[in-house]
Every structure is written in structure tokens, then in C-alpha cells.
Symmetry: C2
Subunit: 376 residues, 2 copies
Amino acid sequence: MPVTIRDVARASGVHISTVSRTFSAPHLVNPETRVRVLACAEDLGYRPNRAARALITGRTHNIGLIIADIANPFFPPLIKAAESQARHRDYHVFVADTNEDAAAEEELVHALAKQVDGVLLCSPRMSNSLIEQLSREVPLVVVNRQLAGLPCVLMDVGQGARSAIEHLAGLGHREIALLGGPRGSWTSREIRRAASAAARAAGADLTVLGPNPPTETGGFAQADPVRRAGVTAVLAYNDLMAIGLLEGLDALGVRVPQEISVVGVDDISLSRLTRPKLTTVATPTAAAGRTAVDMLLQQDTDVPRTARGGGAGVAVGVRRTTAQVMLQTELVIRDSTGPGPYAGRERPGTAAAGPGPHRRADPGNPIVAAGDVVAS
Amino acid sequence: MPVTIRDVARASGVHISTVSRTFSAPHLVNPETRVRVLACAEDLGYRPNRAARALITGRTHNIGLIIADIANPFFPPLIKAAESQARHRDYHVFVADTNEDAAAEEELVHALAKQVDGVLLCSPRMSNSLIEQLSREVPLVVVNRQLAGLPCVLMDVGQGARSAIEHLAGLGHREIALLGGPRGSWTSREIRRAASAAARAAGADLTVLGPNPPTETGGFAQADPVRRAGVTAVLAYNDLMAIGLLEGLDALGVRVPQEISVVGVDDISLSRLTRPKLTTVATPTAAAGRTAVDMLLQQDTDVPRTARGGGAGVAVGVRRTTAQVMLQTELVIRDSTGPGPYAGRERPGTAAAGPGPHRRADPGNPIVAAGDVVAS
DNA sequence: GATCTCTCTGCAAACCTTTGCATTGAAGTA
DNA sequence: TACTTCAATGCAAAGGTTTGCAGAGAGATC
């Protein structure tokens, strides 16, 4: 029933190899023949069978996208951008949800490996060593995790956390809480590291609460601990938690930002809609999705997959790019942060006026932090 | 480099067909042999190549999910549920975003057809006739569109719109606006139809504004027209538009619900977070995703795909289920609706107290509205 | 007119599985 | 012992495509 290359060959009176070449190497076939074949193909509604093609070329023209939680609003813009970019390059995208489960991640990489040319691992929860091991099975690009020897797309949440802390310190806050993210999250560690350093530099105390599930509920549950910690400002691992915290504080009758200031990370679309509107560190998720796909496909075109090839014993060098891209973040100041108890008082060692918000450079032009090519 | 069935055969000293049977028909192989083969496979890390398998069995064990806009918060829960359900049944899921573009939908169905066992069309914008035509190329299940002869998963937005209008009328509103959705949307038509009828029955006037893009911006842009229309209540095509409208009204200094009541549709997670919290018609998106996958896979297992099969000339009947499932919706009353100008006044022909919110039955138990089996 | 070059096309193997049929050998029956 | 039955395995074709190699002409060069 489905129309194959053979049907087209019969209809246009040529051998199947000519039909094949019409699609995959048009310059090798006579223009007249070509138009005839194309006309027949069009007529019959022929579409090459990608699976059969993959069997021999070794390229599936599919990629895998492994996501911790599709329902977390952080991810859909990334998925959308990645899918769009992939499709522009004639790739299809498998999407799989791991429910924040490291074991599921591993299983999925295995299951998808034969069916894709590469996998995007978004905010993985696995160990670094496991990721490295898996990268020997299928080309991997990792988003939101730094890993030597592997292509990574990172968002500079360290810079973002620093800006956030400096913003809070500049507003006169000295007692700040950090709501940590989930265990195994590179982003969470990075935020913590940068926030600690920035707090120290600004002469503020940082109380870390967590790890927490990166959800609204996770934030909500920390409302009481936050209040009891006696802090006047909070930086949350992500917006979802910040929003949950906002709700929790509201339920406790704590006013934001009058009594406690709250900052999130991600700038998901909800953040403009809460009352008060959330101050947050915007992360370039769409750019990350695009960039990651580009890196994966770049890598993919570098590497010849067919085993057959080459004249007598010409060993083809397998090249792998391991560029790491760091995308800039931007502090977006809205209504959930306000003056703290030390507002207006001059402080030594800190820029008195407080630094302005960090402006993001053109997000379409990622900064390549480190790039190299390894031959193996 | 990748390990094939041949490697396993060599390692365990049997023919490749025995290895194949170990996986696909274990009862045909001697238990001792089986364990040996399985051990070797495990050792070598063998995974069957699904593409090669598909080539001969005709089943890819993949499905396609075509979505109007991944970034629209309505869809991620559906995607998540569908993917989860599919994976439970050992299927992988291609996700593709059409950007609300009918032409892209068609192109995607064609592109994916050979690579999947079926496609889920979510809230399609195509014409009915085109959908029918495409369904001859690949099994289709349609979500949010009613189509004779095709399996559909519908959400009873008609009932939801009716509940919403009755709720508003019960609160004393007589001048109500409806913010229409995008052209080509079955849901939008259905809401309009039901809302008109319900308004008429309740003795209220319904002003239709639209069609509109189903986005926040689309809702925001209607704030001024809504105010000028002189209505005291609005039902929006979806929550995103309702939220946009809330913002727009806020910007105009119109208080909700004191001056205008607003109702949305979908109950996306944001809706609990706006101020005021949004009254909305909850649609069972996750259940829809699960159900649609079940219907597709059900259909898939019914239909033998191999052309080869059967003894001399035994024509195998191709059976297709065309069951249509209608999932119930539920009006969730929050803070964006309040008393209207006619509050408390007795009205003839209407239940004075106003009907209570329509309660949703167990969303896990869809109601089969119509089902049949066609032999062709 | 013979030789060479070049373009276009056909042939057939290969990719990795599944599966109908044939073969083998052992156990059971008469 | 001769036969049948049955379970377990091997054989080879098939599925749709790509691609190295070789052949067939046509045109150019001497």
C-alpha cells in the first residue's frame, strides 16, 4: 500500500538507484530524467522511508530530547525552540519526560540511542560519570550542566544569582535566605555558590534552606521556615518555587515586598502575572534550545557514521566538538523586591547605589566560553 | 561499533533467528538457550534496532503528537500524559509544533507518516476534509475536534460554557461578552454555540468579540472593546485570553469582579495565581492525552500491518475503531466572578438560585458517547 | 577511424531484523 | 524396530533504501 522507491522507478521507467539519486544526489542524474522522476514521485505521493534510509546511511535524522518535567513551565519554551530549530534542519524530535528521575534518564538514552543521531539532555539529574559513559553510546549535548569533554549549553545563573544578591543588598537587606533546588542539579549548586560569594562580598548573611523539589509546592512548604529564619529577603532556585513561596507567605499574612522580598530564577511567563509581580533572573531558555540543537547537529555532520566507507584501510578520524556555550542571564526587577531594614545606609565595601540590573546581550549570539576539537 | 543481533548470535553460538525469537517469541526457544542468549545480550548491551524491525513488521512503535503551540500552557499537561502513557506501552513519541498553522499540520502528518504507527492531532486547524484525507495515509486520533468516522477525544466545553453562562446569569449578569478563539477551532465554535443557547435560555444578551488569537495578547487587546461593549461579564475562549483580559482591564482601571466578571476555559495552572484568582471551566487535558493514546494504540493493535501475511489470498479485514470519547468539564469558581447588576432579583424562566457548578465525574473514566467498528 | 573522456544509468550488495518453511533429533507409540 | 509427533533450531527471503563499481553510449581528440 505505501508507495516505495520501486513504484516510482516503475512509473518513470528507470532503475531504483536512479530514483534514489534523484533525491540524494541530484547532480548525478540527467536533468530530463530528474524532472520525470520527480513528477512521478509527486504524482504517486512518494516520500522516502527514513527508517530504511537510516539502516544504510547510519543517520536517522531524528534527535531525542530528554526533559525532567514537561509540565514545568521552564521547559516548554526550550522544547519549542529546539523542535523548531531541528525541523528547520529536517530533523524530527522525540520528546521524553523523566519525571525528575535519574534512572529514567539512563533508560531513555539507551532506548533512544539506536533511533536518533543524538540526544539533548536537559537539566539532567544523573551523575557526571554516567553521562560520560552514555555519551560513548550516542552523541550527547547537555543543557544546564557543566561537564568537561562534552558539549554543554549553560545559562549563567551564577551571574544571575550574584546580580540578585547585589540587588537585594543594595536595597538594604542583610539577612537573606536561599531556597535550594533539587539534589543533583548543577544549576542549584551554581546558584548557591555564587549567592554565597556575593552575600559575603556584600556583608550579608545567607541562610540556605533545602534541597527542595523545584515546584510550587516545594516553595509553599518553605514559607513558614522562611519566616522563622528571620530573613528579610529570599532568593529561590526557580520561579515556580518563588511563586509557591509567595502564596505561602500570603497565607501566613506576610506582606511582599514590605516585610519580605522575593526573587526567583527563570522568568517563566507566569512571573509577570503574580501579585506582586515577581522579580527574577531571566534565563534564555529558547536560545538554549536552539543552540543545543545546533551544537548537536554540528557534531553530527562532522562525524561520518557509515562503517562501510573509504578506500583500503583509510581510518576516518572521528571528530567531536566539545564546545561549551555560556548564555547570559538578566535580572528583571518587578514588584516583589523592596527596601530592606538597612535601606539608604551607607555600607563600606559595596557600591553604595547598588549595581544596576545586569543587561543581557543579544541572546541570539551566545558567547563561546571554551571550544575545542578532539580527535580520537 | 553498535552491537547487532549478529554479535549476540556469535557470542552465544546460535543462529540469528534464534536470538530474534528469544526477544520476540521466547516460548519458541529452549529455556537453556534462552538464558544463554539473554546473558550474552545483556553482556554486550544489545538493544534491538527498532527501525530495522519496523522495516519488516510494519510497526515502528512510535507515535506522533502534533501540537498547535507547545508554549501554550494548555498543552504541556496533555503532552506529558500522552508521552507517559505511550511509554508505558513501549512507544516513543515524536512531538511537533505547528505554530497554529494548518499547512504545517498537513506537512507534518506526511513527514511523520512513515515513521509512526499513528498520529495524535491536537486541536487541529485544518479542514475536516483534509483530516479525513490524511487519515487514509496514517491512523489518526483527533483531540478537540469532532469528525464523523474518525476516533476523537473531545472535552465537553459546551457543557462547560453552559455552566459558566448559567453561573454568570445566576449572579445577576444580563449583558455578557464572549471572547472567541481562533478561526478553525472546533472548541471555539462549540463554546459559542453553547454559550448562545445558554444565554438565550437565561434571558441574557451575548456579544461575541472575535475571532482572536488564543493568547494573552489576544485577550489584552480586547479589554477596551469589552469595556465599550457595556457588558458586566465576559467568558473567554481560554484562560490565556482571560488572563490577558484581566491585565488589560487592570490597566484601564476596571475592577474585577466588582465592575466586570471574567470566566476562562481550561484551568491552566496559572489560573490559581492571578489576582483575582480566575473562575474557569476546567478541561481534563491529562485524561485527554492518555485516552487519545489508548485509542490510537488500540486501533493500532487491531490492524495487521504486514502485507506479506496469510495463506493464499486470505484478505484480512482492516478494522478501524471510530469511537468518540467525550470528557466532562467542571466549572471552578474562584474570585474573578461576582454579583452583577441584577443580583438577587427573581427572574422568570431561570432557576432562581442559579445552578451550582457542574461537578466533573471521575476524569479517569471517560464516557463513550459513540463507538463502532467499520470493516473496509 | 581509433582511442579516450565523460556523463548517465544499471547492477547488486549491504544495513538489521523477522518469519515461513525445512531440517534435525529425541521422545513416544504400535 | 519402524513409525509418528513434537520441540528446537537453522536457512533464506523480504522489507526500502544507498552506493561502489561497471557498462553504455556520446562526444572530443588525434
